[in-house]
Structure formats: structure tokens, C-alpha cells
Amino acid sequence: MTIDLTDTTTGAIDHALNEARRRLGGMTLGMVLTLIVVTDEAAQYDAIRAANQAAREHPCRILAVIARKPKADSRLDAEIRVGESSPGETIVLRMYGPLGQHADSVVAPLLVPDVPVVTWWPDEAPEIPARHPLGALAQRRVTDTAAAESPRAMLANLAAGYRPGDTDFGWTRATPWRSLLAATLDQPHPPVTAGEIAAEEGNPAADLIAAWLSLRLSAPVSRTVSAGPGITAAVFTTPEGDIKITRADGRTATLAWPGRTDRMVALHRRDTAELLAEELRRLDPDEVYAETLEHADLSAPAELPRRTNAPA
């Protein structure tokens, strides 16, 4: 059911929600968090769709905040969707004029009581997310540096303005790679003396993996540029030769180990809903991300490849 409210107040929204709930028969059961999505008119459709998909794993109230026409008179329009594609509730809040600067005054009364709040910027994010009024309401703030015009510059901003509870999709996208790299080093292996991560330019996940590896292995890890898609190779240099994981097609990786047959590993790129679902799984500060971000060297541009990255 969709309810449109024009020039409205949070009181009226709350009333309409209660009314809808009564008509549908108790829909709020089991909502585990409030998800604030800060977006714009152009991007809202994709963002809300991904949020709805993630809500199947984490039933939640989605508050999409869209600022419109900053010069107009202040006005709040709301679109309430309940009992549709996801188990929770979605409220799209369009704020006109100066109200756009005071979005927190609209959002705060609509938070689900007693459960955590997560704020997600699918596109451009503020320099210091925790200082943003909508970020201050949340214990978890999710940004996406890959969507920024200059991912590296934004990553550097995030590093400077980091507060516990911040996290970035660049780090989320790194998880399958990090998991595979950790599994690779679970096997008996010669000491790793250096490393390399190859990816297309402006790939924050690759920057973060390189920083993470160099921090954990206490070895230099270079970040090189390839044609993509995404991350195409990770290399551990050892005295017995290189241990190489290459992924040319964004789907299947090949693990090449000196003196062994090459092995294939499924390593597909994930969509936004999956990334968001991973972010919502744990809501405590991610200390490993904080350390990695601090360690990342974001001043130098990525290097040219040391060698070709064709699969071995």
C-alpha cells in the first residue's frame, strides 16, 4: 500500500503509518533497525530498491531523504510504502527549501524506538559523515567512495575525518578478496616478502586491500593499474616464487601456486544489495577498517603495472 502525503508533518506521517499498520494487521513486528538513505531524485530508485532487498535479511524502516529545490519555500512531502516488496516500511521524504538543511528534525521523530540507526550515502558523502546531522543520529555510517568523482581524494577525506562507526563500500567490496587471500595463507607457505594488487584506476577496494596487506604482512605492497574490471590480480612474492590470484572476467579467479596445478575459485562481484546486507550484519565499529584506513597511503598515484596481468 502506498500513501502520499503532501505538505505534511512527522506527526501526520506517524498517524498514517499507524493507520496503515492497523489496516494490514501489524506490520512492524521484528524490525531490527532504521536505515536512513540520503540520496537525490535521480539515484533514489536504485538506492531504495537495494535497501528493500537488504531488508529481506534485515527487516527495517527505510527513511529515504531527498532534498529538493533549495530556493523554494519549506515543505515536506512523504510517500509511505508498506506491505509491498520488503518486510519493513519505506518512507520517502522530500524536503523543499530551507527544510533540506534541517532533515534531522524530520528524521529523528520517525526512527524506530530501541533499535540501531544506520545512515547510508549511496553517492556523494559529506567530508566527515559523523558530523553530518543525519550521520550524528546513527551508530553506523556507510559511504561509497567508488561513487565519488575522485575516489582517492574522498578516501583521504574519510581517513582524516574517521569516527568509530564509519565504513565504506570500498571496504565491503574487499571482503571476498580478503577472505580468499586469508584462506590462501592458511596453507603452509613460504614467507611473503612483498605484494601487489592490480585493479582499474580509482578502485578504493584495491587501495584498501593493498593497505591492509602491507599492514598485516609488514611488507611493501604495491598498487598497480590494470584494465579491470575491478580488481584483476593479487600477488604474494615469496622466495619460492609468486603466489598469484588473477581474475580477468570479474567472476572466476585462478590461484597459481609455484609447483602446483592452477586452481579456479569463484569470486564474483557483488551487487549493492549484497554489500548493504553485509554492512547491516554487524553494527559495532570496524576496528580493522579503521587501522587499514589510517595505514593507507593515498597521496601517491597508483603505479603502472610491474608486469602484464594476463592469467598465468
Binding site: 534485515h58 577472505s179 592458511d186 596453507q187 609488514s218 572466476t252 579456479m264 553485509e278
Partner: protein, 535 residues
């Protein structure tokens, strides 16, 4: 159940074989704070016996695929099937492919299947055939070489227990069971053996069976699968009890009136006549699933969640379980009669194919137990299980005592029952709290209402299938969810006198299919002034 080892390395574990490969402290990329990186099994081969069986096709193979799809299997993971079939590797891969396509829970991805299928091998042969086992040994060694599986083998015996002895001896003879010396890096390869219920049919046979496996595999490398323990709600019993302050203060004889543990099925014995006749409901379900649920419900708080502490508490409470003095009054059993179940006409147990007309095997069993501890003195635990009942359902219900004083008129509280906390294990996993509430209106009228927590609503797709969790735990070497031989023996000690009494004294009572069980079970509760919860 992750073993907490935040940064510091404690004393060496007592069982060198159970160090979790996934939490290898020597790997600098692993950090206990890094919760995004999942526990991934170390390099290994799984050798599966009984690959043509239902369990292998419907549960084990799909679970392996789902694990691969979630990225929880190591690169190079290999699966070797062994069976009396004239198959090539490709034929077995095809069988696995079909099983995965039909039964896997996660979406089918060609790339994941490609990765898995590269490590699929098949060895044909009889269990008595020395040559076949030598070939099996050769196959896994080749995999070690080709795919870097590191000499780590898990043997899954998805076969009837009568073959255990032969297979285990063959594993020994062919050298497969011997992990060999430590490698150049100081790591000893591991061997693990996975067995499924039934763990014997009484104490004596359980011991015999254990001796067979024990002769070849050390106790810490034997993983007994009770798939109930892989279920999220069952693990949640521990979280509910020990992570909250709310429940523990009332989790005792001062507040609890009695406990009911139920597993009911709506189906009959199906095609399992050969196995079921002579075994019956109590051996099939109470001895393992229900007594494990009882142990988790009644046990004291373990000092930690590592395998030893957890099993110790379970063993303590199982050793305190007592049977009623008069088994004629404290137990009930029955056989389903022909009738109607769920809108279908069904046959009675005695008319089922393969069941003798004079069979005394029960399809319904109920037992009243007590737990002789300070916490539970005087609180009866009623356990029941049956086939062809109203519906399929498993639950643990703690029924609390009535409020000591009700400051309402008797008519106001006529509809007020006792408070209850119900842990729903299946099919609709969750927790229900039943309590009294005022009916809206001008009169003071109190009636029972439910407060519900449903896993389906709160944490849906993330929860893995029980077999997925258990297979991963085997490959990682994490044993808390697997009962130890001591627990198996303690359970048989509880059940054996009942079985003996039944064999000597009673004939199972017929009960209507689609109902709630035999009248004698209701009478058992009635004598105590209580009633079974509605199915």
C-alpha cells in the same frame, strides 16, 4: 561457536587435533576482530561413503555447494565419492550436479559449480575390496599433490552402522587413517571421521560401535552428527539463556512448573520400514534429539563455550536425569492407526509395507523425566515424539507456575493460563512468550496473549542450513556442536530401562492418525493435573 582468543594465545589446547584451521594464529591475515572474513575451512579432501543415499543427495552435496557459494570452502577443496557403482569421475560429478541443482538453497552459479566440480573424484568398489581402497588412497594422495589439499581428510560415513567396522578397518589397512608425520612446517595433517545416528540401539551396541571407530580414530577426531544441534534456534537456546539477564533468574524450580519437549511429525515411516521396525520412536528421536534439547535447556552455565566446557555441562545434567519410579505410569507409547491425516486417507503402521502385522515397535513415545539437581528438583520434564500426528513441529516449552495470588475476581481470570516461554525449533523458528493481558474494554478481564520473535522476520536469509554449519565445523575442526561418546552412552543409560520395560510389559496402543497421540499419553499428564500443549 567461535572460540574467543582476542589477540592473546592461551595455553595449548588439550586436543592438538582440534585447532581450528580457520583461526590459525600463524596467519597474519587472520584477526579475531575482523568479523567480515568468514571462518573458512583449511585445505582438505572430503571422502564420502554412501554417496548414492538420500542424505548424501538431498543434504550433504547441496550443503557443500552452498558452502562453496558462500566462499567458505578453501581453494582446492575436493570431494571423493566411494560406492559400489560402475562410474567414472564424470558420472559422479553429474550425480552431484543434479543433486546440487535440485536441492541447494543458494542460487546456482555456473562458476561456483566449475570450481567445485574440478575437485570431484569417484572410486568404485565394495567395502571389502582391498584394491578399491588402495585406489582410494592413491586418489586422495594425487589430490594432495594436484590441488594442495595438504593431506587433510574427512571421512563421511553416510552408511548403515553394520558397515562401519569394515570401512574403518579398510581405512586403517590402506593407511588412509594415519595422518603421518608432521610436514616441514611443523603441521600434522588431520583425519576426521563423521558418523550419523543411529549411534547403536542400546548402551551395549553403542559401546561396540564406538569401539570399532575408536580402534582406528582417536576420540577427538570423531564427529557425531545430530543435525538438530546445527539449527540456529537450538544454538540460540544458549544465547537466550546465557547472554541475557532476563531469563536466568526464573530458569529454575522456583518459577518453572514443568517443561515439555516435543517433536511431532505429520508423516509416517515412509520407506524406512527396514530401519524403523525394531527401533521405534524413542530410540530414533528421544535418545538423541530430545535428550540433547533437554540437556541444553536444563544444564548449568558452562564456564566457556569451548567444546569441553559445553560437553561437560551437558554430561553433568544428563547424568542427573532420572526415570519415574513406576514406568507403567510415567511412560506412554503407541502406533498410528489407519485414518485421515491432513486431508488424506493414510494406512496404519501395522499395514505399512515391510512392517510385520504383529510388530511391537512404537511410533509414538512419551516419557516423564526428572532432573535431580538443586535447580530442577520437583520439576518434571515431559518429552514426547510421534509420527502421523496433527502437524510437524518441534518445540521446547517452559511452563511457569501460576501467580501465587491473583488480586482479581475469579471470573476475571477465567481465561488466564500459565505463563510460558516456548522455543520453536521447527518449522517456524523463533521464540514465543505467553502471558496474561487485559482484554480492552470496560471490564477487567485477563486473557493469554503471545509475544513472538520469529527468525523468519528478523534474520532470514543469512541463516544457513544445519548440515552446512555442521560440515563446516567438521572441516574447521570445531567440535562444540557434536555430542561426545559419553553423552551418547548417558542417553542410552536413560532410555535402556524404558525400552526393556516396554519390551517385557506393554503393547503399543493404537492412536488415530492426524491426532495428538494415544490416550495413555494424555492420561500420563492428567495424573499430574497437567495437559500437553496443543500440537
Amino acid at each position: 561457536m567461535d572460540v574467543p582468543n582476542a589477540g592473546t594465545r592461551g595455553p595449548a589446547p588439550a586436543n592438538p587435533g582440534v585447532i581450528a584451521a580457520g583461526l590459525d594464529p600463524a596467519n597474519p591475515l587472520r584477526d579475531p576482530r575482523d568479523r567480515r572474513i568468514p571462518r573458512v575451512a583449511g585445505p582438505c579432501v572430503m571422502v564420502m561413503f554412501g554417496v548414492t543415499g538420500d542424505l548424501a543427495r538431498k543434504k550433504l552435496m547441496p550443503a557443500l555447494y552452498d558452502l562453496a557459494n558462500r566462499g567458505l570452502l578453501p581453494p582446492g577443496f575436493s570431494l571423493v565419492g566411494f560406492a559400489r557403482r560402475d562410474w567414472e569421475h564424470e558420472d559422479f560429478a553429474q550425480v552431484t550436479y543434479e543433486a546440487v541443482k535440485e536441492h541447494a538453497r543458494t542460487p546456482f552459479r555456473e562458476t561456483v559449480w566449475q570450481q567445485l566440480s574440478e575437485g570431484v573424484r569417484f572410486v568404485p568398489g565394495e567395502f571389502t575390496d582391498d584394491e578399491a581402497f588402495d585406489q582410494l588412497a592413491e586418489t586422495v594422495r594425487q589430490l594432495d599433490h594436484e590441488r594442495g589439499t595438504g593431506g587433510n581428510y574427512a571421512f563421511y560415513l553416510s552408511i548403515p552402522p553394520k558397515f562401519f567396522s569394515t570401512v574403518v578397518q579398510q581405512l586403517k589397512r590402506s593407511g588412509l587413517s594415519d595422518p603421518g608425520p608432521a610436514g616441514p612446517d611443523g603441521r600434522t595433517p588431520w583425519r576426521r571421521v563423521v558418523i550419523e545416528k543411529p549411534f547403536g540401539r542400546d548402551l551395549a551396541t553403542a559401546k561396540e560401535l564406538n569401539d570399532v571407530v575408536d580402534a582406528v580414530f582417536p576420540a577427538h577426531s570423531v564427529f557425531r552428527i545430530d543435525h538438530y544441534l546445527g539449527k540456529e534456534t537450538v544454538q540460540n537456546i544458549l544465547a537466550l539463556r546465557f547472554a541475557n539477564t532476563l531469563y536466568e533468574p526464573i530458569w529454575n524450580r522456583s518459577y518453572v512448573d514443568h517443561v515439555q519437549i516435543t517433536m511431532s511429525e505429520d508423516i509416517g515411516i515412509g520407506g524406512r520400514a527396514g530401519y524403523y521396525d525394531g527401533i521405534g520412536a524413542a530410540r530414533d528421536v528421544i535418545q538423541n534429539h530430545l535428550l540433547q534439547l533437554l540437556a541444553l535447556t536444563a544444564m548449568e552455565e558452562p564456564v566457556s563455550f569451548d567444546a569441553d566446557s559445553l560437553r561437560q555441562e551437558k554430561e553433568k545434567v544428563l547424568s542427573a536425569v532420572r526415570l519415574p519410579a513406576d514406568l507403567a505410569l510415567g511412560t506412554a507409547r503407541g502406533q498410528y492407526a489407519a485414518g485421515w491425516q491432513g486431508g488424506r486417507q493414510v494406512t496404519g503402521f501395522l499395514e505399512e509395507d515391510g512392517i510385520p502385522a504383529d510388530s511391537r515397535t512404537e511410533t509414538y513415545a512419551a516419557i516423564k523425566l526428572s532432573v535431580d539437581t538443586r535447580r530442577w528438583a520437583g520439576v518434571p520434564f515431559y518429552v514426547r515424539t510421534g509420527k502421523r500426528l496433527t502437524r510437524r513441529m518441534t518445540e521446547i516449552a517452559l511452563i511457569f507456575q501460576a501467580a501465587p495470588h491473583l488480586p482479581f475476581a475469579a471470573t476475571d481470570t477465567k481465561e488466564l493460563g500459565k505463563n510460558a516461554l516456548v522455543i520453536r525449533v521447527q518449522p517456524d523458528e523463533g521464540v514465543t512468550l505467553r502471558f496474561g493481558s487485559k482484554v480492552p474494554g470496560s471490564a477487567m478481564e485477563v486473557r493469554d496473549v503471545n509475544m513472538d520473535f520469529a527468525y523468519g522476520e528478523s534474520f532470514t536469509e543469512a541463516s544457513p542450513e544445519a548440515y552446512e554449519r555442521l560440515i563446516l565445523d567438521v572441516l574447521i575442526g570445531d567440535p562444540p556442536l557434536f555430542p561426545r561418546q559419553e553423552e551418547v552412552e548417558l542417553s542410552w543409560r536413560i532410555l535402556d530401562p524404558v525400552e526393556q520395560f516396554w519390551a517385557e510389559n506393554t503393547k503399543p496402543e493404537q492412536y488415530a492418525s492426524g491426532g495428538a497421540g494415544p490416550a495413555s499419553a494424555d492420561a500420563l499428564m492428567g495424573r499430574d493435573g497437567r495437559a500437553w500443549r496443543r500440537l
